[in-house]
């Protein structure tokens, strides 16, 4: 199964989830997603998603200047983002239950 396609569908929720407790800059978010098991996630996909969620008003962003080197851009979840995350959790649960049920081997009383 092409997991990159599946990933696309859940990337918004996944990104919102990893910044739910802690703000993070782009590569930080990538790393959190990877260490959570989404190893195939593309860097640019995450950056694009962050920007889209920001443009949709689900994230806030702020720049942290660095003493040496370029500044970092942090993203943090905002109330709009939390709403969105909650809604996506619900729909994911419903969706995954449906698919689980659908894919369960015959006789497996799930």
């Amino acid at each position: 199964m092409d997991t990159t396609q599946l990933l696309k569908g859940v990337l918004d929720a996944a990104v919102l989830a990893v910044v739910e407790d802690d703000d993070g800059y782009g590569y930080d978010v990538v790393r959190r997603l990877r260490s959570a098991g989404l190893e195939d996630v593309g860097d640019a996909s995450v950056y694009g998603t962050l920007r889209r969620l920001y443009a949709a008003g689900a994230l806030s962003s702020y720049v942290v200047p660095s003493e040496e080197g370029p500044h970092r851009k942090y993203y943090g979840i905002n109330p709009r983002g939390r709403e969105l995350l909650e809604a996506q959790r619900k729909s994911w649960r419903a969706f995954s239950e449906t698919v689980d049920h659908l894919l369960a081997p015959e006789g497996d009383p799930r």
Partner: protein, 391 residues
């Protein structure tokens, strides 16, 4: 957010690499409004530098081309892909427009190849032999430079340049992953040039070996195509003796093709080195020079005195049995001889000495001769042999 302290890649400055990559990505997004670009790529340098510092894998290998990265960024951000962005004026160069179609075709072809099942294995093997190509590439480009600097053929400078080129190219291939398009184009151009040079270099290398062989022949020994040679040594003079073992002078020799057997032609270069005396040719009655009348007389260099017949190596030799000294009776001239020797074929067979009268008695220098045999010389000389090309 404690960052693990990574080992920086050798020779790569993560910050510089990140800057270059980020700039290339921004260039790919140039059709978008500036604020969108900033939203998409703000802080990208810092993130990329962190990524670059993590491993020695160059960014280009980790992230793919800046163009692909930018496309992924767009699609994830919900922006239209670049090709559909209605901003042709951003890529308005005539060259860009002309190559756009070709580039898309190439991208389609590459995408097609990538979807093949054998592609990953092929890429893996290709990456294994890549360092070998880097070496070859560098050597080929250095070879080209060496040809300009040192000319064709092998030279120490050329060899050193070749090695340096190979090493530099290997290092460039190993460490340097430029992101800027023009730098990548430069490397692509170098590769293409190397591929074009490859057959020429192969031909030059194989033919250069032939040159070596040739040079070896001509430099290790004198030119064997000229003069008279015996046992690998050049013969400078010939001392004839008759059947009784008496020394002869003024003996004209021809080879079996009727050519004058000349050990020297007056060209200094074909005398053996250390020759103290200059050999001088005999002269015919009608003033022609004969280099094939032996022994050749010698003239002390610069003195301008009369030429002297050099002393014979042996005063006399043992007489031969069954062969009389003297004139060969009634020679049957070979066709070649008759053509060269006799203007009118009729008098040739008649009397041998007649033809000889035009030939060469004056070679005799009896006064200088250390042996008292002018008569022998006289009888010997002329007519016994078909007279050489006097005509």
């Amino acid at each position: 957010m404690s960052t693990t302290l990574p080992l920086p890649a050798p020779g790569l400055d993560p910050a510089a690499e990140a800057r270059e990559y980020a700039a290339a990505v921004r260039a790919e997004l140039a059709d978008l409004p500036a604020e969108v670009i900033e939203e998409l790529t703000g802080g990208l340098e810092a993130d990329l530098a962190e990524l670059a510092a993590e491993t020695s894998t160059p960014l280009l290998d980790r992230l793919g081309s800046a163009r692909a990265y930018a496309e992924e960024l767009r699609s994830a951000a919900g922006l239209p892909p670049h090709a559909m962005a209605a901003a042709p004026e951003k890529r308005s160069g005539i060259w860009s427009r002309a190559t756009e179609g070709a580039r898309e075709d190439i991208e389609h072809a590459v995408a097609h190849l990538r979807s093949r099942t054998w592609w990953p294995g092929f890429v893996e093997r290709a990456q294994l032999v890549r360092p070998a190509w880097w070496l070859v590439r560098g050597a080929l480009l250095a070879w080209l430079v060496a040809r300009f600097l040192f000319g064709p053929g092998a030279s120490l400078g050329g060899l050193l340049l070749l090695i340096a080129g190979a090493v530099v190219s290997l290092e460039v291939g190993r460490r340097y992953r430029p992101v800027a398009r023009w730098k990548r184009s430069l490397i692509v151009a170098a590769n293409v040039l190397a591929v074009i040079l490859l057959p020429f270099a192969v031909v030059a290398m194989t033919s250069r070996e032939t040159v070596y062989v040739d040079a070896g022949y001509s430099s290790s020994g004198p030119d064997t195509s000229r003069g008279v040679w015996f046992d690998g040594q050049v013969v400078t003079n010939i001392y004839p003796y008759d059947a009784q073992g008496r020394p002869l002078t003024g003996v004209q020799l021809l080879d079996d093709y009727g050519r004058p057997l000349a050990t020297s032609t007056g060209d200094r270069s074909d005398w053996s080195t250390g020759q103290p005396n200059a050999l001088v040719p005999a002269v015919t009655a009608d003033g022609e020079v004969r280099w094939n009348a032996y022994p050749l007389r010698a003239q002390l260099d610069g003195t301008g005195g009369a030429p002297r017949t050099p002393s014979f190596p042996e005063q006399s030799l043992s007489p031969l049995v069954g062969i009389a000294s003297g004139v060969v009776p009634s020679p049957e001239p070979t066709p070649t001889m008759s053509v060269t020797a006799a203007p009118s074929p009729t008098d040739v067979p008649s009397e041998a000495p007649t033809a000889s009268s035009t030939a060469i008695p004056p070679v005799v220098t009896s006064t200088e001769s250390p042996y008292p045999a002018p008569s022998v010389t006289a009888t010997m000389m002329p007519s016994a042999l078909p007279s050489p090309a006097t005509s």
